[in-house]
Symmetry: D2
Subunit: 310 residues, 4 copies
């Protein structure tokens, strides 16, 4: 089946699902998003791009930004990053602080909040928060080849006002000496990076470097093939918090979810896929987004756990 | 480079490594194994088999048996198994009991000891321990097409005598009602299954069904393609305890390690690889085995996180 | 008010309480106890004994036996015991296994199950389980000056059949080398010791040595004054599992509760008090028993946190 | 032996001890305190006051201030406080955040940092931080009948600069809605309250209301007898973090320690005792202070676990 038909089919089916999960409502600008929304976009290795549903509506990428923050942090300090953040699944929720106490301020991986804060701290070194946010934005715009991507300032402000849990994490990590920039600067940068708004199409475009061994069609080499592979590995084992195992089991693709309802998934050598549906499942991942990716992966035989059939 | 040369190169290099990790010594029959041993075997999708080093010496497969036990348990009760054991990385050591308390007797995944005990319990239903062990043995022999595979009774007996931690786990799970057979029968079967002795060659042969979408060359269809894919996914996220993320990061293949120093790794559609070197790293996985698999995966471009290049 | 009137008043009031907690029903012989039962007995320092309600009905003392087991273990190995068991409140439930993992098999205190198993192990050294049980029974009979105290064999058998959680604890401790006798012997002795049946009167009599600086009216010196004081201290901080703080706050006396609904409380230099009411509160301590002791302590001004008014 | 001789003896002995523990050095103004210091003061129920050693040198009372903050918070909201903070020993270190995650922002007791922050939040309601600090200071001055007691602003400022762990706790509690005032105001007040400097003499005087059933000789009724008794109970079970059991076992008196090396201990109806020696043991409590109180308690027979001998 051609990609367009597959995506259209999935979008049509998703429109009829009644159990759509629960929209995050810890801040008003997320809580007011229409749960009926569903979008999907797929960019293939040969350069085509396919969309269905609300694929051109921007949404808050939230934790999906952790993929870009990790990429930038690795670009800045290379593998030295791994002395400050682990790469193991955490076995616990996205904002858990328990593991940090036992492991003395070293977050388990860069895709839980604690680990992402360390990446932001690395990225921030030598910059003002404003510059750091500008750099992330330029990076993402370059990857997506689209200068219209912006930070949703209302979301950023709300995050900041409600961000006590992240403030706790940042102060806690700082108490172990594993943040080097001022806590407020790290938090401010982090909240803005999470508040970047992108559409499925923009996100799928931005994710192409992970499918293509580190090279982005528009922007050139972003990371080495080895680093692209490794980021994919971390997305697979850690990209969905304490539901990462289930996502691997059902979808079989590296992926990173965000509380705004988006998921970016990567089929190495084949496709970069972005889905969006604001309702979340119990683990805080997009309910229909996961379902849709399961469909895509099965229909195209793209699970990385299936025998290769290039 | 031809497979034979690659394996020979790796085996030669491994011979010279001085930091070989620490041989498990909690029972004498494991502790007396020569740390200088190293073997590797690779069976390809097109049916060839390649070996180097001590690839024909049998060793105690230990936790690698959990892959076979999971396959048998799924064969017996299907996806109903997942109400009794999870499929998430545990974020903790192989024999941790902490997670069980919080999650009320449901082990995180089938590849930690607690989860493997539940698989054994499932497999045991309606059988005597002797029959159950016989069935596992026949299963493995069929997969490897080799009737010489046996249980090392000395190892099994020692495990039983020293198995207080596993007895604790089994009783604990039983206290939540998540074991249905007598605790002693489950433990007895489990200790024997862990004490199966296999060579790298036998193990690589036995693992072929996971590379080939569920079909074993000699034994026919073992599991459906979907199930093979899913077992691979669990091996990737949970196969190396609290070093699973690191193994995915470095090697990029589904794999399962055992405290005897063996690792079985699967490159879907490409190869089934078994390595053995008795020295373990800090997380209890074969130190040289991991290194060797990293070499194989990089040399052949077989990481599942690399772009497909069939 | 004379003691008899006070106790009669309390017993009368307790008869009318409707929210009596929940009778433990994990074994049938406990579950079948009439929740309407309430008994209380008070032995004073000057040798008088006062009772009300069902004070002469025997009940299963369960964890109250841990006080006697600790006394015997200290008698056997002295302060060397403290290298094998701590004396800190655990902050967790009576049968938690989590703490044991982090603290490598050293139970937090002798009044959680894990710690009591270590005391039983100490007491068992050089004896058969039968002898050890006989010794505990003789000890308790001597303290209470009553040879009619027996083990309820039905309870002991049921405990053994359902004792998976305790078997888990014992095996777990054993795996760290902190049990020296065979696991089954320790468990068997432990289950029998918990199954001792005593009336409130017998229990209050048995507890007199703790109120009298270590000397029991009938049996002579049991422990030194320092040891009596220290056992009292542990009863205060650890005697009610994760409700020990609340018991100290409300009652203000060293006390030890059992899942059979009994509590033994000690007012040093003043009284030994036993209450029994089978319904338990959420933390597993007798609901009316706690209430009754709060009344006694307040009425007599016996809280150890009140200014001394001898 | 007269009190003066006893204290002089102890002070003399303490001067010769070589293993004095480790002075807290997380802020310079604490780290620079001379480890040779030792002071002790004892106020008796009949109104006399006895001192030895450096009993008139002011030191940073730190966590001992939690006793006064609890008293003030109870004065403000009464037993409603107990819906926001527990009264159970925590079983963990003074600044642990783990328990807070599991128990959703309700600190275990008012004597760990998290619980003290809640007390400060209660006390702060309707005040500016400056007013709240003023009120605490006036309260303590009244209790000690000494207007020279001040906040050490250097310590307060250093605490604030290094207070990442407390900032983490405060933000974390706030994320569960269990702080109502601005996080920064709570922290500012808390750091100043901890930075109050008092001598042993002043501290022993201030603690008299807890020995005297709630009435302070100079200041009149502070709390009801019931509340005094209950504060004593919490000091006994929770006053020394995860060494509270050991302090009860060895000393047998309600007490509260501070990282500045001070301990306030209460013998109800008999004495209020303050000791100071800056070196801390592994659990963060004054090493010589604990030793000295063990001596006092044993010499005077004041343990609350000993038979009453008024």
């Amino acid at each position: 089946m051609p990609y367009d038909d597959l995506l259209a089919d999935i979008a049509a089916d998703m429109r009829t699902v009644t159990d759509r999960g629960r929209v995050a409502d810890y801040i008003p600008s997320l809580g007011s998003v229409d749960p009926a929304r569903f979008g999907i976009a797929l960019c293939t290795a040969d350069g085509s791009c396919h969309v269905a549903g609300d694929a051109d509506l921007p949404f808050s990428i939230q934790s999906i930004s952790k993929v870009f923050a990790l990429t930038l942090a690795l670009g800045k300090v290379g593998d030295a990053l791994w002395s400050r953040v682990g790469r193991e699944p955490s076995g616990s929720a996205f904002n858990s602080i328990v593991q940090l106490e036992r492991e003395e301020g070293i977050p388990r991986n860069p895709f839980i909040n604690a680990g992402a804060l360390v990446c932001t701290d690395v990225h921030l070194a030598g910059h003002s928060p404003r510059e750091a946010i500008g750099e992330i934005l330029r990076f993402v715009r370059g990857l997506a080849d689209d200068n219209d991507i912006v930070v949703d300032e209302t979301v950023a402000r709300s995050e900041q006002e409600q961000g006590f849990r992240n403030a706790a994490l940042a102060n806690y990590i700082r108490s172990f000496g594993n943040l080097q920039q001022p806590v407020d600067a790290v938090l401010g940068t982090y909240f803005h990076q999470c508040a970047i708004a992108m559409s499925c199409r923009q996100l799928a475009l931005a994710g192409r470097y992970l499918m293509l061994g580190g090279r982005s069609p528009g922007a050139g080499r972003i990371v080495t093939p080895q680093r692209a592979r490794r980021i994919n590995a971390i997305m697979l084992t850690c990209g969905h918090y304490d539901a990462s195992g289930d996502f691997a089991f059902r979808v079989g693709l590296p992926g990173k979810s965000g509380v705004g309802g988006g998921i970016l998934a990567v089929a190495p050598g084949r496709g970069s896929i972005a889905v969006w549906s604001p309702g979340l499942n119990a683990q805080g991942n997009s309910q229909l987004g996961t379902l849709a990716l399961e469909r895509v992966s099965a229909a195209l035989g793209w699970s990385i756990f299936d025998p290769v059939t290039a």
